[in-house]
Symmetry: C2
Subunit: 400 residues, 2 copies
């Protein structure tokens, strides 16, 4: 057989992060690559108890469910959202297989080949992967530490007749950046009158080290859930556990309805058992107390990596301290190609993600992303020693 | 906001079955509509025990997993497939969120707008939904009780330069039909030399009432897993429980690789917890013994409905006894529109699926699908009384 694949596959790249994850599986590599939460802090007992509660409800719990998602779970998430000043009803919400599926479904129902999406440059690579496979033109907007620059945003909104702006304004992946309230408002005010939808991707919003920080979700600034300029998505992968693959997306009910129809075609619905267990967990477990515990631990881990990055041997590297999330975004000296460096790093027994794939355009080869949440603290020093050795080996090769 | 949805949504219909399912939720309607398995026979204890075994393995079980799926589960499914003369390795397999996702992913990587798919007419409506939303031309092939008619198949393969043939050859949804071995071979021999891929959808293959029947999967007749003209998909939704939403798809490793990449973009991976639990269940539970139990029970339920359908009051209805699966396919007198009949039926307190939506072309309005697996036996008689009353009311209205 000779297989002729679809047009969709022409733009379909495999994700660098997941390929690295696969390469390092079962090897004694210290990986700063994946966006993995720390296993030691998984609430295993609470998850187990939640499943037991579901099983006690009998066999009906194991039947097919609604595409929209398990209604009591959607109600419980609505209550959690209200604490973030996001006031929505269950019919503004669809349960997805992780927030990744929310991005994919919105792309399917909202973007046609040739449409334009504006993004930060760099941005989440798996979102780029979806847009590019879908034949959508992706344009990067200039940004500083506070978010997209309004002038460049306005210019590009006009020039490209963009349909969507995709942002992770709170502890962005990969940069760790958090947008100011002003820039959030500026984005909303630029987009809504132009009928341009904002996709606010917020997987990390709960992992904040500065609980007083004024970072309202852009969705909460819109205040019109029934004439809404923002679609918001988040997930329990970082705050509960990734294995359940349960995310949610909220927006205007017309958008949610269309996404629900697309999900019906895509997979009927996500695991009902996992959804029911999450509902039990939200009812009987103090998730907010748990989030405070992982915040404190992740901040400790971030500080540990920051201390190591501040050592003289890494003086050539540029980075900024993240206010939350899971990543350091590191700029190497201009001459260093992070992809070539990764080969040395893997030989030394450490991994990271080269920055190149996070760029929609004009990739900067001298960038890389380091995850600080997953590696056990006692191994971070060893990992950073190996990174230093890789830089050394790279320099040797460059000379030789 | 004024939302302009994508080209994809233009062909995206909501599934009639799931809409009916939603309408009847919480009402005292006897539903022969959904393709639901019988809850009484769900192996709740085995599922619960399987999850307990996973939890005993510790927190690592709750981390992110591979897009391809949990390797020990894929290995266990390979062993089950071998019993059907399908000899494949884990790298020929991708775990999906139900077999629905397998159809969607194959469509995404294999079909571009304007391509042609051949199907039985009628066929599984959610597959039609995917093809139509994707802008694919769907052409029905003539068939009799043994499968597609080779002459019409060959003519349409040539005329339409088809890329894919989609079939559910074993207890088809909605017709309950099973293809003969000869027709399976004829399909393979027609497609492979023409480089046309076959998608064999087999959710019901294990629900057979005639264990001696000679119904080999078409995949097993190809015998070239590395130069394969067939992609095969199945699911645990009918044999274990639907709530876990776990299916699988096997095919040439080049196709599986491309589908894996598409799945990475679509949702990273399906619930790892559910996959690990299914692996434990396959290891410690006698699924084949369980399948024998539900086969016997479903055959009993089929016979009960058959006896009722054979009564004089339904003498105008035409149907054939299914050799497996979950459905009776019923032809009403030419003058009766099943969609209009459904309104009367719901008023009487019974539901079914009108046949119209199962047709790729030339829909026959006087057809409907009855599920015989889900309704408890003591209610089937009441449901059929209500169906008779609905037919009566329809006739009254037609006269009046």
């Amino acid at each position: 057989m000779h297989y002729v694949f679809s047009k969709y596959t022409e733009g379909l790249r495999s994700s660098a992060v997941r390929d690295i994850l696969k390469l390092t599986q079962g090897r004694s590599i210290i990986s700063f690559a994946g966006g993995l939460p720390a296993e030691d802090f998984f609430p295993l007992e609470a998850v187990q108890e939640a499943f037991e509660r579901v099983f006690r409800q009998g066999k009906g719990a194991l039947q097919y469910g609604l595409t929209e998602g398990y209604t009591p779970l959607r109600e419980a998430i609505c209550r959690r959202m209200a604490a973030k000043a996001i006031e929505v009803r269950p019919d503004h919400m669809l349960i997805t297989t992780g927030s990744q599926q929310a991005i994919d479904l919105l792309t399917r129902v909202f973007l046609s080949p040739g449409d334009t999406v504006l993004v930060e440059n760099p941005t989440y690579l798996a979102a780029l992967q979806i847009f590019q496979a879908s034949g959508v033109q992706v344009v990067g907007v200039e940004a500083d530490g506070d978010g997209m620059l309004p002038d460049d945003l306005l210019a590009k909104l006009e020039r490209h007749a963009a349909k969507l702006v995709y942002v992770t304004p709170t502890f962005a992946n990969p940069t760790g950046k958090v947008w100011s309230r002003e820039r959030r408002l500026a984005l909303l005010e630029a987009c809504k009158p132009r009928n341009v939808l904002i996709l606010e991707d917020d997987p990390y919003g709960d992992i904040r080290f500065d609980p007083e920080g004024d970072y309202p979700p852009i969705f909460s600034l819109d205040r019109h859930p029934d004439d809404c300029g923002v679609v918001y998505t988040s997930t329990f992968s970082k705050t509960v556990v990734p294995a359940l693959r349960t995310g949610w997306v909220i927006g205007d009910s017309r958008v949610i309805q269309m996404m629900t129809r697309a999900k019906q075609a895509a997979d009927l619905h996500s695991s009902t058992l996992d959804q029911q267990a999450l509902h039990q967990l939200l009812t009987h477990f103090d998730l907010d107390a748990h989030i405070r515990i992982i915040r404190a631990e992740y901040e400790r881990r971030m500080q540990r990596m920051k201390a190591l990055l501040s050592e003289a041997r890494f003086a050539d590297l540029r980075w900024r301290e993240p206010a939350g999330g899971m990543f350091f975004w590191v700029e190497l000296p201009e001459a260093i190609d992070a992809t070539a460096l990764l080969q040395h790093a893997v030989q030394q027994g450490v991994a990271f993600v080269p920055g190149r794939d996070f760029y929609a355009e004009q990739p900067r080869a001298n960038t890389l992303r380091l995850n600080f949440t997953h590696t056990p603290p006692e191994l971070v020093g060893v990992g950073m020693d190996r990174l230093a050795a890789a830089l050394e080996a790279y320099a040797q090769e460059a000379i030789g």
